[in-house]
Every structure is written in structure tokens, then in C-alpha cells.
Amino acid sequence: VTARLPWRVLRRAVVLAVLLAVTAVVVPQSTARHSDASLVAVHSAHAVDHPRNVVWILCLGSDARPGQHLTGTRADAIQLVGLNLKTGAGTMIGIPRDSYVDIRGHGRNKINASMMFGGPQLMADSVSRLVGVRPDYVFTTGFLGFRAMVRAIGGVTVYSKYAFSDPVRPQGYHKGKNKLNPFQALIFGRVRHPLPHGDFDRSANQEELLRSILRRVRAHQATPGFVERGVLAAVENMDTTLSPPQLYRLAQAVISIQPAKLKGCVVQGPTGYAGAASVVYPDVAQARRLGNDARRDGTLNHGC
């Protein structure tokens, strides 16, 4: 048993790393869920008008608690990721979880409630109505495999925009380069209070985590069997409607993206209250501008 445990951990870890290198998750306090991740094709993907060499994946971090379905609870990390398979460039559009938007059939609410109301399809709908880009896939994960993933790839190196402190990292998070262990990486994607712009900076940190994971995964991609082991773990552990060959292609697509060409922007907006709830009123014009900029080539040509 002791000999097999690390391998299981590795497989679970590689799943997330390979299949997206993509979702920085907001991690709940504890977990035990039905599956570690899910990946579904958006029903109307064929209607999306985009070049065939561009794929959009909505990456969600679920706050599912023990016993809850991963895709039946709120999505607290929301990143719309566009990948240009021809150029190796990509775009991450971070959406604050408290963004107050219209949810089809449910009135105005925080965007992360879409997942609870209608699962990945409704979440994709809400995001596409805000940004103007409809994802081809929705990838949802909890945090169960996150630390194992980071452990399996030997930690990650992130570039922090701000210095801040947290008990998990006695030396603190420095402005600039930080090599993080799994728990420290987790916290890097979770904290918001020490950051000047709270949710917005946290979303940007999640994007940096994605970039750092992608860097590490790409460093291993030429290792024989690495990608295959990761996709196998996905097949075995993830709820998905994709066939194994489709998963395999998608995994290869994701890791073909060059981290240096993976640019991120976070949708901004003023904060306020809707009733008693603290919300963000997203800058719809900015969100649409980002969507219009990156829709066709998965590349932000005009900055944030």
C-alpha cells in the first residue's frame, strides 16, 4: 500500500496539471466529493463562431463541500481561458466570483450562483453573456487534487505582484519570484484580504498559478508516458462527456500553449451591496471588449 499511494497521488495530480494546467482553485476548508473534476462540452459549441484553431475553456473552482456534487454548488474561481493552438498563445479572463449579473431564468444574482442553479451549462451561459465568448468546454474542479498536483510537479514558482504574509509561509510571499510548496500555492490562489484589490488581485493570482503550473507541466511533457498517465487519471477520476481520444487531444492542446504567451486580465468593476450581499458590479463594457479582442484568435491584442 505504501508503495502505491504516491503513484495514485501522482496520477490524480497529473490529471489536473495535464488537462488544463489551467484552474487555480479557490479551496474550501475540507472536502470529500464524488469526483475530483468534471469536463463537459458546452451544448451549443457548434454554434460558436470562432476559428477552428481556437478553443475556449471555462475553468471553474467549485466550493463543493463533503458530500456535495462538484457541479452543483457555487463556482468560486472563474477563469475563461482561450487557447490558440496555432500560435501557442492564450488568454485568461478572470471574473470575480461576486460579479452581479443576470442569470438566465433566475434573475440577478452573483455569477457564481449559476453553477448551483444550472450546473456547467448555465455557468457557461452566464459567463458568455457577460464576456461575449461562449466556451467550448467547462472544466470544473474542487481542490482535492490541487496540492497533490503541485507536489507531483515539484512545487511551482510564481511571480507575485504584491508582498504579503500568511502563516503557511513564514518567510512571507515576496513581490516577484516565489517558489511555493503545495499548501503555499493553494493559499496563493485563495487569499484576498492582504491584497490591495481583494477579489481582483486574487483572480490575477489564480491566473499566475495557472501559468506556473503550465510551465512545470511543459517541462515534463517530453517525458515518455507523462501525458498518457495524466489523461488516464482523468478518464478514471473525472466526470466527463468526452471520449478518451478527445481528452487526449485536449490535454495535448492545453500543454502546447506557451506560458509566456498566456496573458491574463481580470474584469474590473465597483463593489457594493445588493441587499445584504457584497457584490461586484462588473464592468460589462470592459468584459465585452476583452471578449471581442480575444474571441477570434484567443489573444489579447489590446491589453486589459
Binding site: 498518457e228 478518451p244 487526449y248 495535448q252 502546447s256
Partner: protein, 204 residues
């Protein structure tokens, strides 16, 4: 002194294949196109055998099925190598068919990289081409005991005879990515290759 020219080409993925359900074909069926091409493309003689081996399997794949898989992937790779290098119609070669083992949505990338993926740059001065080394080691994704994806780590070395001009050693090294094709067989949906070229006489 001749410098080694080394160029890298990458292309990946037939996106439409992601959203169109792909038949999870058995490895019992060989690619129809491969059978035709191998049979119809005259090939230079004198090349070393194409060694294709399964070296890593994620999942379970019986020994016999590994051998069958290797044979079928070998057909696809042989199609590519024969069409792209080992032809007999030099100097008039137009490399028709070299793109056929690749996913259709990679067609434009393959056209773009034609000078790197085929012997096109030397075609007009080529008398003959022999493969002096050709290996492909396969890492296989095999959930449920059936192969669903393959990374072929390839190393292909060709000796290009150019008559009274210096013969060239052309090497392609890197990865070819394959998944089962509709209708059977295996198709290349991505590649990440380095190509180098140097005069044979300067080879170590």
C-alpha cells in the same frame, strides 16, 4: 565547414475532432489510407527496417494487443515516411499524399511546414533517399484495455543521395501524436519535431 541546419516545427490538434465524437476504434483495424499508400507509393530500396515499439502504457494493454497496436501505428508512420522521403519519383516529386496521415484540420499547418516535414527542399537535386535509422517508441493511453492515444517518440535519419553534389544527412526527431481515426487506423493530430540537415561527409 558546414553548419548543421536545425529547425523545429510544431503543430497540434484538430479542434473539430474534439467536439465531434470520435469512434473509439479497436486496434484490430488498420488505417485504410495507410494500406493504400504503402501499397501504391513506390519506395526506395535499401532502407533499414522501421522499428516501432510500445514502451510505456498508461492503463492496461495485453502483450498481443501491444504488438497489434505497434503494427498499426507503424503503418501510419510508414505512410508518412514513404510519402515524404522515400519516394522514387525524384526530382519531380510533389509529395502528394504526405499529408494524408495527418488530421484534415492540420492540412494548412502541414502545407506550411512542408519544407520541414518532407524532402521538398532537396527534391530537385535528389537522386535517391534511404532511411539509415528509423525508430518510434510509443507511449500509449489505454483506458479500459483499449488504446485511445499515442505519443510516438520518433527518430528518423535519411541519407539523401544528390549525385555529384554533397549527399545530405537529414534527421527528424521529436514527437508525433496520434489518436484512432474514423473508419479504423491511426491518424496524426499533432507533431513537435526538430529537423536537422548536414552533409554526410561531415557526419561523425
Amino acid at each position: 565547414v558546414h553548419a548543421t541546419a536545425r529547425t523545429r516545427v510544431t503543430a497540434l490538434l484538430a479542434l473539430p475532432l474534439l467536439v465531434i465524437p470520435t469512434a473509439c476504434t479497436s486496434d484490430q483495424s488498420a488505417p485504410n489510407h495507410a494500406r493504400q499508400t504503402v501499397a501504391s507509393t513506390p519506395v526506395m530500396r535499401g532502407s533499414v527496417p522501421f522499428r516501432v515499439e510500445v514502451t510505456h502504457v498508461a492503463g492496461k494493454l495485453a502483450t498481443k494487443r501491444r504488438a497489434v497496436l505497434a503494427a498499426h501505428v507503424r503503418r501510419t508512420l510508414t505512410w508518412y515516411v514513404d510519402s515524404a522521403f522515400l519516394r522514387t519519383d525524384y526530382p519531380a516529386a510533389r509529395f502528394a499524399g504526405a499529408a494524408r496521415p495527418f488530421a484534415r484540420t492540420l492540412a494548412s499547418a502541414v502545407r506550411r511546414d512542408r519544407a520541414l516535414l518532407t524532402n521538398a527542399p532537396l527534391a530537385r537535386s535528389t537522386r535517391s533517399v534511404r532511411a539509415t535509422h528509423r525508430t518510434a517508441y510509443l507511449s500509449v493511453l489505454a483506458p479500459h484495455g483499449s488504446p485511445a492515444g499515442v505519443t510516438a517518440a520518433v527518430d528518423l535519419v535519411f541519407a539523401v543521395d544528390r549525385g555529384d553534389r554533397p549527399a545530405q544527412r537529414v534527421e527528424l526527431e521529436g514527437r508525433l501524436l496520434l489518436t484512432p481515426a474514423h473508419g479504423g487506423g491511426w491518424r496524426i493530430f499533432g507533431y513537435d519535431l526538430d529537423r536537422s540537415q548536414r552533409p554526410v561527409r561531415s557526419a561523425s
